[in-house]
């Protein structure tokens, strides 16, 4: 009975539902939270859900990671598709860079205004 849990379609289903939930959590957090740190945290959760989905959908039971080892010595069919992993690795690096830049902006903004709430950011707009 436990074998049916270890099948590729089942795992793909779990990953799809889980990452969709995570994406929803992230987007709802970004829309409903007022604290700037929490907004950026929510956005990175939403981004992480996409990483999990993309890697997870290319995982198949019985295949190995596309890294040179005893089992994988050439470009063979018993390894998973390497392109998503390379893509996601690049994307994670970009996401970290963007997040750190965002946090540095938030810190600088807090130093200048002593404010972290997005609904109290009233510097911009039509001057009266």
């Amino acid at each position: 009975m436990l074998d049916s849990f270890n099948q590729t379609p089942f795992l793909h289903g779990v990953i799809t539902i889980g990452s969709f939930l995570l994406l929803t959590i992230g987007l709802i957090g970004a829309l409903s939270k007022k604290n700037l740190f929490k907004i950026f945290l929510s956005l990175s959760i939403a981004e992480a859900s996409l990483f999990i989905y993309f890697i997870g959908m290319h995982f198949e039971v019985g295949k190995v990671a596309p890294i040179l080892s005893k089992e994988v010595d050439k470009f063979s069919s018993n390894m998973v598709d390497p392109v998503p992993q390379a893509m996601i690795l690049t994307t994670i690096v970009i996401a970290i860079a963007v997040l750190s830049l965002a946090l540095s902006f938030v810190i600088n903004y807090f130093k200048l205004t002593n404010n972290l709430r997005i609904d109290e950011m009233d510097e911009l707009g039509e001057s009266r």
């Binding site: 970004a30 700037l36 907004i39 950026f40 956005l43 939403a46 981004e47 996409l50 989905y53 993309f54 959908m57 290319h58 392109v83 998503p84 893509m87 690049t90 994307t91 970009i94 860079a97 963007v98 830049l101 965002a102 902006f105 938030v106 600088n108 903004y109 200048l112 205004t113 997005i118 950011m121 510097e123 911009l124 707009g125 039509e126 001057s127």
Partner: protein, 464 residues
Amino acid sequence: MSLIYFVVIPLLASFLTPFYKNYLKYISIGVNLLLLFLAIGFVSSAPLVENIAFDSALSISFVFDEASAFFVILFISIMLIFSIYNLQNENRKDIFILSNILLCGVLGLVLSGDIFNIYIFFEIVSIVAYILTSLNRDKQAYSGAIRYMIIGSVASIFLLIAIMSIYINIGTLNLVTIGERFGSMDLNIQFLILLSLFIGFGIKAEIFPLNFWVVDIYQASQNRVNALFSAIISKAYIFLFFHIAYTLKIEPKFLLFVAIIGAISFAISELSALSSRDMKRIFAYSTLGQIGVLFIALSYGNITVVSGAIFLIALHSITKVMLFFALDILKDRFNSVKVDIFGKFSSIFLLLIFSIGFLSLLGLPPFGGFIAKLTILKGLASLEAYMMIGVILIVSLVEAVYFFRLLALTQQSSQKELIQIPLLKKSVLAFLATMIVYFGIFPNDLLGVCQNVASSLLAGAGNV
């Protein structure tokens, strides 16, 4: 020679220049000139495809066809003008580093032949744009940068969703192959991908209803930077939006939807500009309005309309760069960007610059904007799209109201202050104004180029 130089040279220049801090501006101009010569040299060999790495399905590919060549040359020329304008600006040297990375990003965006590289360059351009927004380092600048980052992160999430859906369903990232296989996909997935692409690129291309953030960002950043935002970044995303749309061969009903959205964007932006009292915001609204016209024209898929739109892209870039530079001079003098500074300055030269800019944006002869709008309207008339013609003409009247109101302000007999403009800035502004008048009187050369560009854009990425 290789196409990768267009990305590598500006990137290398920006990373090496911190070591030569005092020569930064000269290096920048040198790099821009070098790239310009390189681009003009490549034009004769277009269309050109270059695959870097092993297998065409997975490799990095750069495509240099007539359309991307036009945008490459346009962006490099504007960056050259920007560097020359900033030559006397001693206090901020980091702007040259950022402008070089920005050039690397937009050239990569325009040249990339596969969608994941487009994502990478999308992020490079975004990060540079965030930093450029915060360049003033005051609370307005940081507030604008934070807003920009939030909306930019949402855009990149949706772009990633589109890229992943494409890879999972088609198994390729190459634009040409995606274009061939896109029609065979399930309709629901096609719709999901198109919607994600629309949100991802629509936010960056500043199209209604995804452009609510733009005006605040323009207000937060420096005028010189706004020139780059208006002339380079938004144009790069507009090109990408339609490049991908025509590559995927999407159905005309979706494109008609885009045209209607463009018309709404045009109307709302110009109406919002009427009530604004801040020059930066007025110019930002005007940019959004022109982008609405571009979306109307580019989505009709007719060669005359599209060539008019390409003409408008070139002219609008030149005009907005000129207007933002002129506003920068006023801002330096009065330390304000309220509309009442228009009643305070006394300078025939600046008055002439503003008049040429406004009249060209309105589309009045003998300026370049007239030819662009005339070509678009002629094309629309041949397609019998009379509703769109009506919208463009009526909303242009609204545009006329606020531009002529601004010009009327300059005739007020209040206390005037004489403005001294440095010779370098004066000659840059005069050159740009001459270009606008020249393309208004002798448009045929540029129109011929625009027709080639339009046919290349309409054929999509698979025409090579």
